[in-house]
């Protein structure tokens, strides 16, 4: 047993970690550059910042009274719950993470990466890291801007609400929810894009699954990104129509358990994606 552990640790130490770190760094840089600094990526900026623009206009044109803080708090909660989690981050991550591998297959450029001296697992994880950095950077920046623009026009009352009142916990929760949503949806869409030639129909099924998830048995609820995020929402907004499903409270779960559960889900999905990547073949003619 001790020998096994010893040989494992020796083999672990002998791996070219420095080289892998450099390769991963370069791959991430290439991918982030493409995700964030090209005209073709402008639609992700739109998805992330369109609520920010509307909140900015609201700050300019509407008069702000202290009594309005609770109304605006509900509006912000609705934006996070119904827009960012259900639409903005969902479609943003669908675009970013589906493109990482499947997009390169469609554009017939994946072979350049597979022909470089980089382990396929490192390639996949670097691409995932790049997608995550891009998505988190955009949506987290938008979230910070949303909070600032929503409560800024209330002046001292707004500042007090955000830094010393209930707004502090809410802001913290939103700033945790957004990256978790990006990572969670990112991992799912990366996997779907490796499993299907066209991952969008499967993604639409995921959208439907997420919608009906709250009324499913608790075991099935654990296979869902939105269900973990639901437990982290600081303000509950009753939805109308189909969105009402999202706000059905089932088994209460602590924030830590929800976050760890989601991270575990991401780890499982990434491990399986690495396995698929290892067996991936280049056959562009079938795309």
């Amino acid at each position: 047993m001790a020998d096994t552990v010893g040989s494992f640790s020796r083999s672990f130490a002998q791996q070219p970690w420095a080289l892998w770190r450099r390769q991963a760094g370069r791959l991430t840089l290439i991918e982030v550059r493409r995700n964030l600094f090209s005209w073709k990526a402008s639609w992700i900026y739109f998805l992330a910042f369109v609520p920010t623009l509307l909140i900015f206009i609201h700050g300019l044109v509407d008069r702000h009274f202290v009594e309005g803080i609770s109304d605006d708090t509900n509006v912000l909660a609705g934006i996070v719950q119904f827009y960012y989690v259900r639409l903005g981050i969902f479609f943003g991550c669908l675009g970013i993470f589906s493109r990482l591998i499947r997009g390169e297959m469609i554009e017939r450029s994946l072979h350049f990466y597979l022909l470089s001296p980089v382990r396929r697992e490192i390639l996949l994880l670097s691409k995932f890291a790049a997608g995550s950095i891009s998505a988190v950077l955009l949506f987290e920046t938008a979230m910070v801007a949303n909070i600032a623009l929503m409560y800024g026009p209330f002046g001292a009352a707004g500042r007090d609400y955000v830094f010393h009142g209930a707004g502090l916990a809410q802001s913290e929760a939103y700033l945790v929810i957004v990256p978790l949503a990006c990572l969670g949806y990112g991992a799912v869409f990366l996997l779907l894009s490796m499993m299907f030639k066209n991952p969008t129909p499967a993604a639409m099924l995921v959208l439907g699954w997420e919608a009906i998830n709250p009324v499913l048995p608790s075991v099935l609820q654990k296979i869902s990104v939105a269900s973990y995020l639901r437990h982290l929402m600081p303000v509950s907004i009753p939805g109308e129509g189909i969105f009402a499903l999202l706000t059905v409270e089932t088994e209460p779960v602590s924030g830590w358990a929800a976050a760890l559960g989601l991270l575990l889900l991401i780890a499982v999905v990434l491990t399986y994606s690495c396995y698929r990547m290892r067996r991936l073949e280049i056959r562009y003619t079938t795309e």
């Binding site: 080289l19 290439i30 073709k40 390169e104 280049i282």
Partner: protein, 319 residues
């Protein structure tokens, strides 16, 4: 010891088969390719690209084993330091300039920026793309895209260079430059595996030929040896002399000479014979007589093109 050395110096295929579902890619291919320039010859869809993709791990063999200089594509870090592959896919990662394409690729080898910079300049100069390196690849002509792919595949100084249709889209000047580059690399001891349809041009630099059709290996080896082995096809020889008609009539007196055709300039004759050894022996006799002044003798169908015609045929089916 010898086996070990051979393994680390050759590209080996052992009983390799590849099936795409029910479609045959290649079937039971056993090959051992030494250093030098090797041409892969075969009609469209014969399995040339599959063979190259198998070599580099872009597709995985259904059965059999492949090693390149003793390395396996599964060990990407070691393998792709030794191997460069210029594919025929005319596509690139989105939004890159020629420079970024080559530089990024070198950085993935784990090089520092200075080395990557130096090798990028060197590779771009070698394919004569230095002036347009900063342009987006999307604005390149077809020939420039072919060149930048070549630059990327040679930039890291691989020991094995695999080139899938490297002359496609190049103008005659660029083709000549590329062939000169391949020849030079082959002379320096690099393994070059080239698949091309422009046989007469590749033939000039090629040491060996691998003929493949319908996924089956038809022949492999030195071009002259392969030609010699195709005994059922008469060999054609061009003889430059002052009296080609007389020579033709003399040679036709022997029964293994089956065809004679005058050269367009009237200063030579193409003769086709079923027994090349007897043919040369008789030619010696005629030359010794001194009646006909023979200036030059050269095989006219001892090349990849002729071998292709004889073994595969113009319709692509092996004869």
């Amino acid at each position: 010891m010898t086996d070990h050395a051979t393994l680390h110096d050759r590209i080996q295929f052992e009983n390799v088969s590849k099936f795409y579902g029910e479609v045959l890619g290649v079937n039971k291919v056993t090959l051992s390719i030494p250093p030098g320039v090797t041409t892969l010859v075969g009609p469209n869809g014969s399995g040339k690209t599959t063979l190259m993709n198998l070599m580099t791990g872009l597709v995985q063999a259904s059965s059999g084993t492949i090693s390149v200089l003793g390395l396996s594509p599964g060990n990407a870090t070691e393998f792709f330091r030794a191997v460069g592959y210029c594919t025929q896919f005319d596509s690139f990662p989105r939004g890159l300039s020629g420079w970024q394409f080559v530089f990024d690729s070198l950085m993935l080898h784990g090089m520092d920026k200075m080395d990557a910079f130096r090798l990028t300049v060197e590779a771009l100069d070698r394919v004569q793309l230095g002036d347009s390196a900063g342009w987006p690849i999307a604005s390149y002509s077809k020939g420039m895209r072919q060149k930048i792919r070549l630059a990327q595949s040679i930039a890291h100084h691989p020991r094995v260079l695999i080139l899938d249709e490297p002359l496609n889209g190049l103008d005659p000047m660029a083709r000549a430059e590329s062939l000169a580059l391949f020849e030079e690399l082959g002379r320096q001891g690099m393994h070059l595996i080239i698949s091309s349809h422009i046989l007469d041009e590749v033939d000039r630099i090629s040491d060996r030929v691998v003929l493949i059709t319908g996924g089956y290996l038809i022949a492999e080896g030195n071009i002259h040896q392969v030609r010699q082995e195709v005994r059922d096809k008469p060999m054609q020889v061009l003889i430059r002399c002052d009296h080609p008609e007389l020579l033709a009539s003399r040679m036709f007196s022997i029964n293994h000479c089956v065809e004679a055709r005058l050269h367009a300039d009237g200063q030579g004759v193409f003769l086709r014979t079923g027994d090349i050894d007897q043919f040369y022996s008789m030619l010696n006799g005629i030359a010794a007589e001194g009646v006909i002044k023979i200036n030059a003798v050269a095989p006219a169908d001892d090349d990849a093109n002729a071998i292709y015609q004889y073994l595969i045929g113009s319709d692509g089916s092996a004869s």
